[in-house]
Symmetry: C2
Subunit: 442 residues, 2 copies
């Protein structure tokens, strides 16, 4: 289902520490999303090390593939292996020149830092400072957010790509991206951008192959999918169907969304881009929640407090790893643990009740399970997790799930299942009184 893209961009991430997996790249995906938002198709993300030949090779590859814009991240720091500005200068055929105003600007930025770190090597700082102020002639300099300036380097000959050079740390790159967008050179490079729309459908509780079947059925039913660029993917135990299309295909997208909604009414939970975290945050307005978690060890509390303003509804959490902690903090009956085991629906419910009572919240969530790799048995294998959500109105949803993956996957997926149970309880989709335990796959 091809969509003709008029402006294509390449994203070049430099840095041996990213290439070798020492740190994870967050800039590639972020820049790709931002480019799409302004109608530019990010056709490739390439990661190379701090070797001039590899950086130059990547720039030339992207130019040869017809990119009208290249955005680079990294390699603007003070150390000798930071060489992006110089290589981009060579690539675009522009001489490197010292920008005295920029040198002074960087010195100004470093001054307070030097007073905060007594005993710094002043010469080292001065050398770094000067190095960062040498830029390709004719480039637009973007004011530093940290200490490194960014650059927008237009092509010397028409037809070549414009290169936007940004620093590696995401908190410097992201504000600087907005500055880059405002430059004339940038605007010229993306003048052919297409106005794309994106629709996202989120489903929870079905396998990916079901969606593949639905898309085939939609085609058989005569729906026009030609103008839609559809991608389906598994993300933290959920399925996301993301569709990009030009405005003229709006009706085709609406028909597809309706078709999927009809077939997957029980599992489609979002058609407006909202995540389960967004929905839960909205549903919790004016209410309060508390958690008591064992195998997830604090991850559910961390997820619920991830967003600003969560203190409005999040009362607190208990991380009760040991049986003693379950009894002492969440007031789970020791005899109950003895009788049914710590990993059981009964203990999940007691944890939810305990969290609610101890933290004086309206809603309580309890999680207990076996995250592995050890501790599993034939009856209670690794990945078995019980989750319960209860409210002060006497509503209660309890689920047993068998989660796939390693320790980290299991812990993460368990929080996703808990978010969905919480969502169901809050939205009144399910309000069975008393206990319900059903098998499911997350």
């Amino acid at each position: 289902m091809p969509v003709s893209a008029k402006a294509r961009a390449g994203i070049l991430i430099t840095g041996t520490e990213v290439l070798t997996g020492i740190i994870a790249d967050r800039n590639g995906p972020w820049l790709s999303e931002r480019l799409r938002a302004i109608g530019v198709d990010a056709a490739m993300i390439e990661i190379v090390g701090d070797r001039p030949d590899d950086v130059l090779g990547a720039l030339e590859h992207m130019a040869s593939q017809g990119m009208s814009l290249i955005v680079t991240s990294g390699g603007l720091g003070p150390t000798a292996d930071d060489l992006t500005a110089e290589v981009v200068g060579r690539f675009s055929g522009r001489e490197m020149v010292l920008d005295p105003a920029l040198e002074e600007r960087i010195a100004e930025i470093l001054r307070p830092m030097m007073s905060r770190w007594p005993g710094l090597d002043a010469d080292a700082i001065r050398v770094s400072n000067r190095k960062q102020a040498v830029v390709p002639q004719g480039a637009t300099v973007l004011d530093p957010v940290g200490t490194a300036p960014g650059l927008v380097v237009p092509p010397l000959q028409t037809g070549g790509p414009t290169v936007v050079v940004l620093p590696g740390p995401p908190r410097e790159l992201q504000p600087m991206w907005e500055k880059a967008r405002a430059t004339d050179a940038f605007k010229a490079a993306i003048s052919a951008a297409t106005d794309y729309r994106t629709g996202v459908l989120r489903l929870f509780g079905i396998p990916e192959s079901e969606i593949a079947g639905t898309l085939r059925a939609a085609e058989s039913a005569g729906l026009d999918l030609e103008a839609l660029e559809i991608t389906t993917c598994l993300r933290r135990g959920e399925i996301e169907v993301s569709t990009r299309y030009e405005p003229a295909a709006e009706a085709a997208y609406r028909a597809l969304a309706e078709f999927i909604r009809e077939r997957h009414r029980d599992t489609l939970y979002s058609d407006d881009g909202a995540t389960v975290d967004d929905q839960v945050a909205n549903l919790l307005a004016g209410r309060t929640v508390a958690v008591a978690e064992s195998c997830t060890g604090g991850l559910l509390a961390a997820r619920l407090t991830d967003r600003p303003g969560s203190s409005e509804y999040f009362q607190g959490g208990l991380v009760v790893y040991s049986n003693e902690a379950k009894a002492a903090l969440a007031r789970v009956d020791r005899a109950l643990i003895e009788r049914v085991g710590a990993v059981s629906s009964e203990v999940a419910e007691a944890l939810a009740d305990g969290a609610r009572a101890r933290l004086e919240a309206e809603i309580g969530i309890g999680i207990t399970g076996i995250a592995g790799p050890g501790g599993g048995s034939k009856e209670k294998p690794v990945g078995l997790v019980f989750i319960s959500v209860t409210s002060s109105d006497g509503e209660r949803i309890t689920r047993m799930v068998q989660l796939p993956g390693d320790r980290s996957d299991i812990r993460d997926r368990a929080t996703t299942v808990a978010m969905h149970l919480l969502r169901r309880l809050l939205s009144g989709q399910e309000s069975a009184r008393g206990s319900r335990t059903g098998a499911g796959v997350g």
Copy 2:
């Protein structure tokens, strides 16, 4: 500081969901690390969407850059946009053929899934099944870990790259990587691999520019850095100096490590690859720890329980967002909160003491701060965090830090500072009785 690489590999990540930032790629860094471990230099990681032309273009680019091995991830699923096997077939000039044994093997794998998900579309499953069993002629098939088989596709002509085709989900890709390595085609492709060694130094509490200065000083002092490939990077508030070298350069690396150790005795905490998490886990053997956290909202508990076996020493945690929870759960004196404010060294210490007492642990950690974006003031700006670690022996370390970045950075960095304070207390490096509060940067 170039190192001649004899075997170079390219990593090709396919999938529009990765290219567009819907999901983060974990396979590129993982494969890069594994390749380095067997002496193969990963020279580039390229991410492209599910478009045949872009996948083919990337393969041809890598071949033209002299890669002897290309590892792909993704595009092996059941949906129509999963097309890697076919494109690799075209790239290597091999016809696509149905492998009946493989078809039966996949059917076998799907059978239990079909019984677990009643109401699945059996036809859809069959079509997907067959699609996944069509492979390039002459390829070595790697048994599926999920439902998708992997492939090792040798070049038709000598000189071309061998392509290893792996599925996208990390929990399928990772075990399949080991199977791929065992094949003859793979071994032939990396016959020129170099035996590299890697040394990692980790420092906490200094800025990156200091390390740049130290490396220049090492060169001035006559150390031979020519044979060392040194990368420095900031990672979760720490500095990592990673050096790769051939065995002949062992003495040069040792001299460099010693030089850095001399200059940064106070901040270098690891020279054997161990992270602060590793060190803390070892130091906690035979002891017990509990936490009470406010602004980190469960992240410190989650970090401490991240590794298998942590139940041996982790007693439990309190996530005390509200002042009521701080008083009720961690027994922080309400009058104290009134007097000095919830974000203060006194409350951090009371939280540490409260965690220890309530969870009957030897060591308690308390964290309170302002993660933002709201809630800051001139006296207590966003990023201000107080952390205290106390022990039942009366040892106590308390620190005030002003952390940079956004809410998520601040929460994450605060856990890093806490891990380092815990490490210092456990290793007896610091055992000030009573309170000590000092400014620092994380």
